[in-house]
């Protein structure tokens, strides 16, 4: 992906990139903390959401980097609780999403996010191949990437028992269309966020 190179060359702050890509103006944030107060994972996060935004408000390379390296951005569940209650209507989940993409591209992602990244890759790999999720294939892919070979095996067999796992993929018909879509969008330079 040539985009990462391009981004590396850019000196613009994350805040301005976020504004350009999502329209969200981080300097509108009051730092009132209402988002963190309701966030289901705030106490698991190394940086509660309002702190992530605070660091971005500085628009300094060091703080931007700290944010990209944080685990918090990988812990966000996109549950939209913060956004719904924010007095300034800041779409924090969108910001988090952007940051995850950026962290992956710049290879700054927090080490504990490996699993999550692997999951996304495995998931999209499966969707790209079949057009729909092939759970066994996806789980195989995930486990191969993470090495968590044994974890959850018991669950898998239970699911199978209950008739909830498909042993063969259900592919869509127009796979060519899917391929095209993947190819074009993953290479589209302005498709960040």
């Amino acid at each position: 992906m040539n985009r990462s190179l391009e981004n590396a060359k850019k000196t613009t702050s994350l805040a301005s990139q976020i504004q350009a890509a999502t329209g969200i103006a981080l300097h509108h944030c009051y730092q009132c903390g209402k988002c963190a107060a309701g966030c289901p994972v705030a106490d698991t996060m190394d940086l509660p959401s309002c702190q992530v935004l605070r660091l971005l408000q500085y628009e300094s390379p060091e703080f931007d980097r700290q944010v990209l390296q944080s685990e918090a951005i990988w812990l966000c569940l996109s549950c939209e609780t913060c956004h719904t209650r924010c007095p300034q209507d800041i779409g924090t989940p969108k910001v988090m999403n952007f940051l995850r993409g950026e962290a992956m591209r710049l290879r700054l992602a927090h080490p504990r996010s490996k699993d999550t990244q692997a999951f996304h890759h495995a998931f999209l790999g499966s969707v790209g191949r079949h057009g729909r999720l092939y759970e066994i294939g996806m789980l195989m892919g995930y486990k191969l990437r993470t090495g968590h070979l044994l974890k959850d095996m018991a669950l898998g067999s239970k699911l199978h028992e209950k008739g909830k796992l498909n042993l063969l993929p259900h592919a869509i018909e127009d796979k060519a269309a899917l391929k095209r879509l993947f190819k074009q969008t993953l290479n589209n330079p302005d498709s960040k966020e």
């Binding site: 209402k34 988002c35 963190a36 106490d43 940086l47 702190q51 209507d89």
Partner: protein, 663 residues
């Protein structure tokens, strides 16, 4: 006009050193219409003025151009001088040779040339000047005050004390507004009713004040000094003359359980009621919606109870017309209700209350005689959480502004709680503490330092009920946004102050503006804070933006001073620089085609409509009509009118074209 005299001033060296003044005078003599021109060292001095007067007489001048300093300096001086010599003041114009020429250019032929041009400009104008008379407008020496909260009370008393009549119109059945509901008031913690009640009584007794409660302004016409208001006096269904305020009727009314507005819904009242014990006037009112006489056609227990036969079911609303010279609007504010807070339970948790409800609990005259209790079970709360900026500074809830009073009353509430119950715990979630008045920050510090109120910087995300407690989930941003959870017995929301109900309708009736939120707009935020854009209408109190009592009272007194100054004059004198729609002989009548573009362009709503009738009274034409009492002479209408039917006295098309053509 062709007999003009020109007087060129040297201003010592100020003009003389860069402009060749004698040369200017000489050149002026050549100009058509000039019969006399001279130069002099100091024209504004007495000898200078005498020269002008003398020349007017000697040369039978019909117009004068003084070429001197800025007209903003000495135009009045010279206009007075020409009137002394029997000339109309508006036949004198001033050419600005000093500020616009000698002081800003080097000595040069071109500078003198410019000076000559500047005189020529005024000369061409003055030749077309018409004698004008200052406009005199009579004044009705009565003021109308709308709203009987502390703002209206203060304004009414101040105006009345200055010797003028006041009509005070209050929408609710009693005076007092929100202040009557408050317990103790920051920053001194004096009892609100103790300081307000005497003033309410003063109002009712003042010989200059006519108090009209349960009344509203229905319509307003006219202009400064000469307003005509129509007031709807709603039927109380009680004969005010007969009622002695004994209260017998109140006890007998069977229609109970009606939410009591004065107690913010914490208690109930009956269908016939007096809003609160010390109400002024102390006359009940029947709430027709809930009265069985009206709803079920039976009951009438109050009639039987009343010793003076004051109950009057047939009483109807009255429309009363009054003439007033000035108006003070003091219609106050309202607070956001807890229903506007989904995240705090949409108003369904009884123990999540507003600050105003807390005031009622804290008030000695309130439902609990001043003991802080909670609505659900009447227990005294141990832990109380106060949430500041509830709905304020929250664009998502439509209120971007700071409500200004809540930081202070929240500190007060926390303090009162601690004073009344030493074992209680008070937490305040806040975003910023705004306590910028005299002794205000000290007050907040006292709550923190002496009374041990815990201030937590962060907003609250959610409140929910669990095991009979209210779980308050907030964050402490000073701990880096760490979530904190407090189990409270009572949650008090410092809800946003909002424009009062009906305020924008009232504003429309009065032709005054509203700001983007619906608060009434002042004419200038710094220099005309109590005036509105409509001359003769003033603002006081929280109707303009949220504010506390000291600021409200200061503004009310300021508005009263403006009114008193206005009403103290025998008449108003205005510059005759006003616009006029032309008239022509029939059948044209006027160049006005009746498009009324001017009407919407006029910032003062000075333009109305006039019907031209024939002999049989049939309308042949509707044209624009400018009210000289309202017109301020901006000339916008003149530029707007496409048929050039309007002209502005003193700046007529003819005059300005002549100026242009002289260049």
């Amino acid at each position: 006009m062709s007999r003009v005299g020109v007087f060129v001033c040297h201003c010592g060296e100020n003009i003389g050193s860069t402009v060749d003044c004698p040369e200017v005078a000489e050149r002026c003599k050549q100009m058509p219409g000039v019969v006399h021109a001279e130069d002099y060292k100091y024209l504004c001095s007495n000898p200078g003025q005498n020269k002008i007067k003398q020349a007017i007489k000697d040369h039978q001048l019909e117009g004068v151009v003084v070429a001197a300093c800025s007209p903003r300096m000495h135009e009045p001086t010279f206009r007075r001088a020409v009137t002394d010599a029997g000339m109309n003041a508006y036949l004198c114009e001033v050419a600005n040779l000093r500020e616009h020429c000698s002081w800003v250019h080097e000595e040069a032929d071109s500078t003198t040339e410019k000076a000559v041009d500047l005189v020529r400009l005024q000369l061409e104008k003055v030749k077309r000047n018409k004698p004008l008379q200052p406009i005199e407008v009579p004044i009705t020496k009565t003021a109308l005050v709308i709203g009987g909260g502390v703002a209206g009370i203060q304004a009414a008393l101040d105006i009345a004390d200055s010797g003028h009549k006041v009509i005070l119109v209050e929408r609710s059945p009693a005076l007092g507004g929100h202040m009557a509901q408050l317990s103790e008031t920051f920053p001194t913690l004096d009892c609100s009713q103790c300081i307000l009640t005497p003033r309410m009584v003063d109002v009712s007794r003042h010989p200059n004040i006519t108090l009209m409660t349960y009344s509203e302004v229905e319509h307003l016409d006219g202009f400064i000094g000469n307003f005509k208001a129509t007031i709807r006096k709603r039927a109380r269904k009680i004969d005010e003359e007969l009622c002695t305020g004994c209260g017998e009727c109140l006890q007998k009314c069977p229609s109970k359980d009606i939410s009591d507005g004065f107690n913010e819904g914490l208690t109930t009242r009956r269908a016939i009621y007096v809003p609160f014990t010390q109400a002024v006037p102390n006359i009940p009112v029947i709430d027709v919606e809930n009265c069985r006489h009206y709803q079920k056609k039976k009951c009438d227990r109050c009639v039987k109870a009343c010793p003076t036969k004051a109950i009057s079911f047939n009483q109807q609303d009255e429309l009363i017309h009054v003439d007033v010279g000035a108006i003070v609007v003091a219609t106050g504010y309202k607070v956001m209700s807890t229903e506007k807070f989904p995240e705090y339970g949409y108003g369904t948790y009884p123990d999540v209350i507003t600050g105003l409800q807390f005031e009622r609990y804290a008030s000695a005259s309130g439902p609990t005689q001043g003991v802080i209790k909670r609505p659900s079970d009447g227990k005294e709360p141990e832990t109380v959480v106060f949430i500041a900026c509830s709905g304020s500074r929250d664009a998502a809830k439509g209120v971007k502004y700071c409500s200004k009073i809540c930081c202070m009353y929240t500190a007060k509430h926390a303090m009162l709680l601690k004073h009344k119950n030493h074992n209680s715990k008070a937490y305040v979630f806040y975003m910023d503490i705004r306590a910028a008045g005299k002794n205000y920050d000290e007050f907040v510090r006292r709550a923190i330092e002496e009374d041990g109120v815990k201030y937590i910087r962060g907003r609250v995300s959610r409140v929910y009920e669990e095991d009979g407690k209210l779980v308050v989930k907030g964050a402490d941003t000073l701990l880096g946004g760490r979530p904190v959870e407090i189990k409270a017995d009572l949650v008090v929301l410092a809800t946003a102050s909002l424009p009062n109900d009906g305020q924008s309708e009232l504003a429309r009736k009065l032709h005054v503006g509203c700001d983007e939120y619906g608060f009434l707009a002042e004419a200038h935020p710094k220099l005309k804070p109590v005036e509105t854009n409509t001359a003769g209408i003033y603002l006081a109190g929280a109707c303009q933006s949220p504010r506390d009592i000291p600021e409200t009272v200061a503004q009310a007194s300021a508005a009263a001073a403006k009114v008193a100054a206005l009403l103290s004059r025998s008449h108003l004198t205005r510059e005759p620089i006003v616009a006029e729609v032309n008239r022509r002989p029939a059948p044209l009548h006027s160049d006005c085609t009746g498009c009324f573009l001017c009407e919407s362009a006029c910032p003062y709503r000075a333009i109305g409509q006039e019907e031209i009738l024939d002999r049989d009274g049939i309308v042949i034409k509707t044209i624009a009509k400018i009210n000289p009492g309202l017109c301020q002479g901006c000339g916008t209408c003149v530029a707007t009118c496409r048929t050039k039917a309007i002209d502005l006295h003193g700046f007529s098309n003819e005059q300005i074209f002549a100026e242009i053509m002289s260049l």
